[in-house]
């Protein structure tokens, strides 16, 4: 394992997981605040169990796929996923689409759960538990994909998983202390950074899958990341200029 590729993999898994866990935590907290910790904890445990099942199912399958095919498939998926994040982050930075607002999401989830108040207590707990399960499952799917994607190509699944677990621990610790949505996390900056890293990994793995021997080997990742960062910033600046020109 070389640190030039392990460090970006762990960092990408950590930062991406931080963003996703913050989003899941907001909804689980809304459930816990309105309906108590029991349905929130049960829903979270259910979501984590399904995610663990997916990892256990996918893990052995990955070992059967030839490395070049695996790198190509994961590289393409990473390109699509990472460029999607980077595109959205650029548009958010340019003010074209609104920033993610954890306080607003918390209020919306709380209001939605509040609409079910006329129902029986057991039904209400069921709805709350499913809401928590869905949040953990949907946000966790992205974490699972990112960990597998940045980790599988070079046998870095364990370090990438540790990066994701560290993010979970950090969000849970912060959440336990402040007991409200983690709205001060600079989510768009993190998404921008993660989009840059995932896109860079995407080009790297896609190239390796096609049989490219990148000059500088793993260090090429740093160049790719710098180019995607520049492209994201250029895109954001141009987008801001376009919106100002159209508004005038």
């Amino acid at each position: 394992m070389t640190w030039s590729i392990a460090a970006p993999a762990v960092t990408a898994a950590f930062l991406a997981s931080l963003v996703e866990v913050v989003e899941a935590f907001t909804i689980v907290l809304a459930v816990a605040t309105l309906r108590g910790w029991r349905p929130a904890a049960l829903g979270t445990a259910g979501g984590l169990a399904v995610l663990a099942g997916i990892v256990l199912l996918l893990g052995p399958l990955l070992n059967r796929i030839p490395l070049h095919s695996l790198q190509l498939a994961i590289g393409i998926l990473l390109l699509l996923f990472g460029m999607g994040w980077l595109r959205k982050a650029s548009l958010r930075a340019a003010g074209i689409i609104p920033l993610h607002d954890e306080d607003a999401i918390f209020a919306a989830e709380a209001a939605q759960l509040g609409q079910h108040r006329g129902r029986q207590q057991s039904n209400l707990d069921w709805v709350a538990g499913i809401t928590a399960l869905k949040a953990v499952l949907l946000e966790g799917l992205e974490v699972v994909f990112i960990v597998i994607a940045v980790g599988a190509g070079r046998g870095l699944l364990m370090p990438a998983s540790l990066g994701a677990l560290a993010a979970c621990a950090l969000v849970l610790a912060a959440g336990a202390i402040i007991h409200r949505p983690l709205s001060r996390v600079p989510e768009n900056t993190l998404k921008f950074g993660v989009g840059v890293m995932l896109s860079a990994f995407g080009v790297f793995w896609t190239g390796e899958g096609l049989g490219v021997a990148w000059p500088g080997q793993d260090l090429a990742l740093l160049l790719f990341a710098a180019l995607f960062l520049a492209a994201g910033l250029v895109g954001s600046t141009l987008a801001r200029r376009i919106s100002v020109e159209i508004a005038q």
């Binding site: 390109l79 699509l80 595109r87 548009l91 490219v212 141009l238 376009i242 159209i246």
Partner: protein, 71 residues
Amino acid sequence: MTVLNEVVAELIGMFAAEKRLTIAVLTVVIMAGCLVDFTDLDPLVGGTVVLFGCLILLVESVCRSARAGAS
């Protein structure tokens, strides 16, 4: 069933939230694959096509969305 539908929608959204960008990226990768497999060019040329193709597509996609979003 709703949860399953939402999981499927989430998975599709993860990779194909912006259809034009998705199709364009796949086209660039296929082009690079053809260059590597069917010509005598160094595979690095294919890699370079993927890299710069994706960079151009990203900027183009952001600008197009800005035009659509701001108009």
